[in-house]
């Protein structure tokens, strides 16, 4: 797609989604906000893993870092009786910066590691999270986590959609910004460097790409995006706790990126939507089966994991480029049916 088409599609999409917040009920608006929050994280992850070839199982921990940075900053500001947009924007910026710093540190280690070793380090990161929050319980308040004073919805919204609508707006704004900035990087020379490093490190270096630097920057940027997602989640739930950023969540994020179409921002969007919609659909399904409450509860959590895993395996086998890959193929087929092929077909 040309830059202009992308711009138009993006703008139309943005306006449509914001329009949607006016008609959705609070619960759906909350889901919409959740999709946007996930999108921040998954977009960062898909760039790191799909475009740069660095596998991270630890993006939940980077999002958690963002959430805690948000919590500390927001609570600090609230204590100073700061209100208004500052109480919203400053904590988000702190979350992005905090996650970026953690990402930089992990990225420096990651730049020397490949495949399973890198996955191991990032895995350790998520696994360490609950240990850290309970070890330094006076700071992080253990498993229970932190309560956050957040900026309330503006007065003029009181009568309309209320809190959830405001949450959706904040989340959508963050996601839009993250996606636009990541897109700029992926389209430009940095994107080329990331792909070159992914495809062939020696050839990349010889072409003039600083391989280690590219990997570290990619990890840092990806972490910053995850931090933004964590901040939005913290803002929505008014809390930051280790349970919200578990290993399972980390795996869900990766599966969302793969199922949506690894390495593409559209794919990150499809994956994030699935991540919210699918568990919800499973919930309604188990409810409609009128099972005993015990069984239903057990199914609720595990069924989603199982189903996601199954879908991912299926995707890897039949459509390695995910949902976005299928959509693209469909579009190209439609185009080639209408007009004669313009791309030169080599013999």
């Amino acid at each position: 797609m040309s830059s202009r088409t992308t711009l138009i599609v993006g703008l139309v999409g943005l306006v449509a989604v914001i329009g949607l917040t006016f008609v959705l009920d609070p619960y759906r608006n909350y889901q919409l906000a959740t999709i946007a929050a996930y999108l921040c994280v998954v977009a960062g992850l898909t760039m790191l893993t799909g475009v740069n070839g660095q596998l991270s199982l630890g993006h939940a921990a980077l999002a958690a870092c963002g959430a805690y940075c948000y919590a500390f900053t927001a609570n600090g500001l609230a204590e100073q009786e700061v209100t208004g947009p500052v109480l919203l924007i400053l904590p988000i910026l702190a979350a992005v910066a905090g996650a970026a710093v953690l990402g930089l540190i992990v990225g420096l280690a990651a730049a020397r590691l490949h495949g399973p070793y890198l996955a191991g380090v990032t895995l350790a990161l998520v696994l360490a999270l609950p240990a850290i929050t309970s070890r330094f319980s006076d700071v992080f308040n253990g498993d229970q986590g932190l309560y956050i004073s957040v900026e309330r919805r503006p007065e003029f919204l009181a009568g309309r959609g209320g809190t959830e609508m405001f949450q959706a707006w904040v989340a959508i704004a963050c996601a839009a910004l993250v996606v636009i900035l990541l897109r700029n990087l992926m389209k430009g020379n940095f994107g080329r460097q990331m792909r070159a490093v992914r495809d062939n490190e020696v050839a990349a270096a010889i072409a003039g790409v600083n391989v280690a630097r590219t990997k570290v920057i990619a990890f840092t940027v990806s972490s910053a995006a995850a931090g933004a997602g964590g901040a939005v989640l913290a803002f929505m739930t008014q809390s930051a706790s280790p349970g919200a950023f578990s290993l399972v969540f980390s795996l869900f994020l990766l599966m969302a990126a793969v199922i949506g179409g690894i390495g593409t921002l559209y794919g990150a969007l499809w994956g994030s939507i699935l991540l919210v919609v699918l568990p919800d659909a499973i919930g309604s399904l188990t409810k409609s089966l009128s099972l005993s409450p015990e069984v239903a509860q057990r199914l609720d959590g595990n069924l989603a994991v199982g189903l996601f895993g199954a879908i991912m395996v299926l995707v890897v086998i039949v459509a390695p480029l995910g949902i976005q890959g299928l959509l693209r193929k469909g579009r190209l087929k439609m185009q080639s049916r209408g007009t004669p092929q313009s791309v030169p077909v080599p013999k």
Binding site: L185, G188, N189, F190, R192, R195, I206, A207, V343, P344
Partner: protein
């Protein structure tokens, strides 16, 4: 006086002195010295495992030599791979070494890293200079593809192309930065007779681009026909240097290499 002039004008484009590379107990290069005069095509021959690629990896900073020095235009340098193109050195890899996931044009544009002027932040916010440079790079890459007669494949993925075209793409990626020293690692590998002939013409034309060439190649006819001078490696040792005629008359070479080849 002119004969003793050591200024940059007369200094060789590339001079390797007493390069030794050891991998544990294995001596891949043993005190090898090679000079590449400005505007010349220097061939490096030797049987499999002789150390030819290792020599390129030393020049490119992929391997650090155990001992020995390297100078470019009379100035000693300690190369680092990603700064190579800044020294005006470009290289093709043995095999292809292309970025398989990306179209031909992107592969060639990737060779223009050293001419990037815009900063990371300019790119993050998509400022005009970043976009303009991207356009200019694509134009330069297209021009290079055109000069090799493969511009019509710009949008194709390398894997979908015939091997000979892919080889040319890898050469285009090296030439696009307008290097003054080009290192070719077995460019004829996998090519047919006519294609090798065409490659020979291309290599002969490169000094016309103000670029010296080092050619690592097994294909004896090609090396003999395009090189001004030849160095022969065997088990990491330099066993002969000289003009093609001198080298092919050298008994040590016939024994170590040509003999093997003829058998």
């Amino acid at each position: 006086m002119a004969a003793h002039d050591t200024g940059p004008a007369s200094a060789p484009r590339l001079a390797l002195r007493d390069i030794t590379v050891k991998f544990g107990g294995l001596t891949a290069l043993d005190s090898v010295s090679v000079e590449v005069p400005v505007g010349s095509v220097v061939g490096i021959m030797g049987p499999n495992g002789a150390g030819k690629t290792t020599l390129f990896n030393v020049v490119c900073g992929v391997y650090k030599p155990t001992s020995g020095t390297m100078s470019v235009d009379g100035t000693e340098v300690r190369p680092r791979a990603h700064r190579l193109t800044k020294h005006g050195i470009a290289r093709t890899l043995q095999g292809l070494g292309l970025f398989g996931g990306q179209p031909v044009l992107e592969n060639v544009v990737a060779g223009l890293q050293s001419s990037t002027r815009h900063t990371f932040l300019e790119e993050l916010f998509s400022l005009p200079r970043a976009a303009r440079e991207e356009r200019e790079k694509k134009e330069r890459a297209m021009a290079t593809l055109a000069s090799l007669g493969i511009e019509k494949y710009a949008a194709a993925l390398p894997d979908t192309l015939p091997y000979a075209i892919r080889k040319k793409v890898s050469i285009a990626r090296a030439l696009v930065s307008e290097p003054s020293l080009l290192l070719l690692d077995e460019p004829a590998g996998g090519l047919g007779h006519d294609e090798i002939e065409e490659l020979g013409e291309l290599i002969r034309s490169i000094p016309g681009r103000d670029c010296s060439v080092v050619l690592v190649e097994h294909h004896v006819d090609l090396v003999m026909s395009v090189c001004d001078s030849i160095a022969v490696l065997d088990f990491g040792k330099l066993i002969a240097t000289g003009t093609p005629a001198e080298v092919s008359a050298n008994p040590a070479v016939t024994e170590a290499y040509l003999g093997v080849d003829a058998a």
